[in-house]
Symmetry: C2
Subunit: 168 residues, 2 copies
Amino acid sequence: MISLSTPPRSAFSDGVQRDIDKIVETTVYLYTESRRLTKEVARARNLTGPQLTVVKMLQHLGDLSLSELSERIRAGNSTVSGIIDRMEREELVRRVRSKEDRRVVHIKLTEKGRSLAASVPIAPMEIFQAAIASLEAEEMATVLRILLKLAGRIDELVQASNTPQSEP
Amino acid sequence: MISLSTPPRSAFSDGVQRDIDKIVETTVYLYTESRRLTKEVARARNLTGPQLTVVKMLQHLGDLSLSELSERIRAGNSTVSGIIDRMEREELVRRVRSKEDRRVVHIKLTEKGRSLAASVPIAPMEIFQAAIASLEAEEMATVLRILLKLAGRIDELVQASNTPQSEP
DNA sequence: ATCACTTACTTCGTATACGAAGTATTATTC
DNA sequence: GAATAATACTTCGTATACGAAGTAAGTGAT
């Protein structure tokens, strides 16, 4: 999974730049480690990461349309369509056309899918959540505030960089 | 890009759970937004995200072996080998076998690759870095401390969950 | 030197992942 | 109510992404 910075031609002191790099690195780590975890848990059940995510999602939320599923796992319809293809092949889910709106496809867990879901004690993402939960209340509030500030700042910078230059 | 939690059968108060979800969400956002940005910038140059990352990496660091490149962009050798295949096809880079160690392949920017790199004003990841740099010194220190704590906690939890149970 | 081992990389098979284009169905507009 | 637009999904082409297996080239131990 690709990510990552080219090193900085820094305008900051070495110490600050090191902190910045460390924050980037840790954020990436938290994200990738969560995915790695999902994958590892999935592997033990002969599933892929996304497939496990889908199974747990359906277990918790009940049947979902393909679009709803796409939205929840933040992937495009075409991606999820493929995932469901393979899950149907493994008889983990079934596609059922909606009667109200015949464009819609509901994804339903099969018995096999349901028992598989039951065999996974916690959703992998819950490890991340548990870690966060172990923070002091104040730390949690602080980190949330700063992360949101970061996200907001990035939005601004993106806005800004969307207007100006263009090169050869 | 898949991610994401199934909803919590929460052991926490609603407020705390909402904070936890928000932190997860924001972390994922920061990561995925960075990737989206890379992709967007790359697209304008007829490159893919990873290809742009490679180009800027080589520009800043000079020639790298394929393994060094893999490590830097946190991807496996086989993945990077494919990326380099396509970049070679586009004449952005060349493979040059090392003379000291004939197993090693050095990846070198071509002229085309170099001028393309020059046409990208800032590495996309630098937007993330710029956002972080805009934090107060104290906030930066705090968020770093807490993120590291989180990362450490996750490591512990992973250790713990790697020893015990196993199900049908 | 020789054999086992490791390392650096490639190749292959499969699974995401996305966007563009296509199909079917529903909603809207006139 | 027929033409048009929008929606839900699928299909296709291409690019990651990974692990397993393969190849070639160093390293070690004896």
